[in-house]
């Protein structure tokens, strides 16, 4: 049950910040995060090989983007056609994030008068 261990290590590492003193905290956190790296490295070793064209990520999705993108969207920069056409809703969310950041910053700065 390797993964349960990771889970609880993560949770414990997050929680740790609030239960122990400063000196103990830094040492324990380093140990725990070292353990997390150790367990993550198994997952990394198992990941699909870097740069291999037969990885699961290279399926029909990027294939269609690359082959039919220019004729379907009219843009030869495929990243542009993905962010503003195929997945335009993400970009609407992103524009909203920018708007929200402005709204939050202005509201915070205006309401707290010195």
């Amino acid at each position: 049950m390797f993964y349960i261990l990771i889970l609880f290590l993560l949770i414990f590492a997050l929680f740790l910040r609030f239960i122990v003193g400063v000196e103990l905290r830094s040492i324990l956190t380093i140990y725990l995060l070292g353990l997390i790296v150790y367990f993550f490295s198994f997952a990394v070793a198992e990941m699909p090989t870097f740069g291999n064209p037969h990885n699961p990520a290279f399926n029909e999705v990027p294939e269609r983007y690359l082959e039919a993108g220019p004729s379907e969207t009219g843009a030869i920069n495929i990243i542009s056609s993905v962010i503003t056409d195929y997945r335009a809703f993400d970009t609407l969310g992103e524009a909203t994030v920018l708007f929200v950041a402005i709204a939050a910053v202005v509201a915070t700065l205006k309401s707290h008068r010195d």
């Binding site: 969207t73 843009a75 920069n77 335009a88 809703f89 609407l92 524009a95």
Partner: protein
């Protein structure tokens, strides 16, 4: 902020070119690396540069608070409304070709229908966001320009 002749003259010389470059990047988002976000950030950076090398008032002279907030809301609103136009033309929300936007020939400047429109709106939005964030965070410090340069 800085009381330095060289910095002022250089930034005044360079700023229009930076702005032009930003506009180029925004408009050629569908043809070359770049797009609304990078171009908008470059354009916004030129305004930040002016505010940094002169003072805040000089920056605000370039783009006032009123204009900035209209541009911000306008950029996001334009994006959302472009999607609604697609619904009016009979496609789904944010559709491009299937809503009947003219695509043109791939590789030409006027191609890609709604992508160009959306990129311009996003560029406006990002440029105004960067300047507004910067102005709002540095405002209400001690009046700018009172700092004497100590070098």
């Amino acid at each position: 902020m800085m009381d330095d002749q060289i910095v002022r003259i250089t930034s005044r010389l360079v700023a229009p070119f930076i702005q032009l470059y930003g506009i180029y990047i925004i408009l050629h988002g569908h043809l070359s690396p770049g797009g609304g976000f990078s171009g908008g950030a470059i354009f916004g950076a030129s305004l930040v540069l002016i505010a940094l090398s002169f003072n805040l008032e000089a920056g605000i002279k370039q783009i006032s608070h009123q204009t900035a907030s209209v541009l911000e809301s306008g950029g996001a609103l334009g994006f959302a409304l472009t999607g609604l136009v697609a619904i009016a033309f009979g496609g789904n929300y944010l559709a491009n070709r299937s809503a009947g936007f003219p695509l043109g020939e791939a590789g030409q400047f006027f191609s890609s229908g709604a992508i160009l429109v959306i990129t311009v709106f996003v560029g406006i939005k990002v440029a105004s966001t960067i300047t507004t964030l910067f102005y709002n965070i540095i405002e209400k410090e001690e009046p700018l320009g009172n700092h004497k340069q100590t070098d």
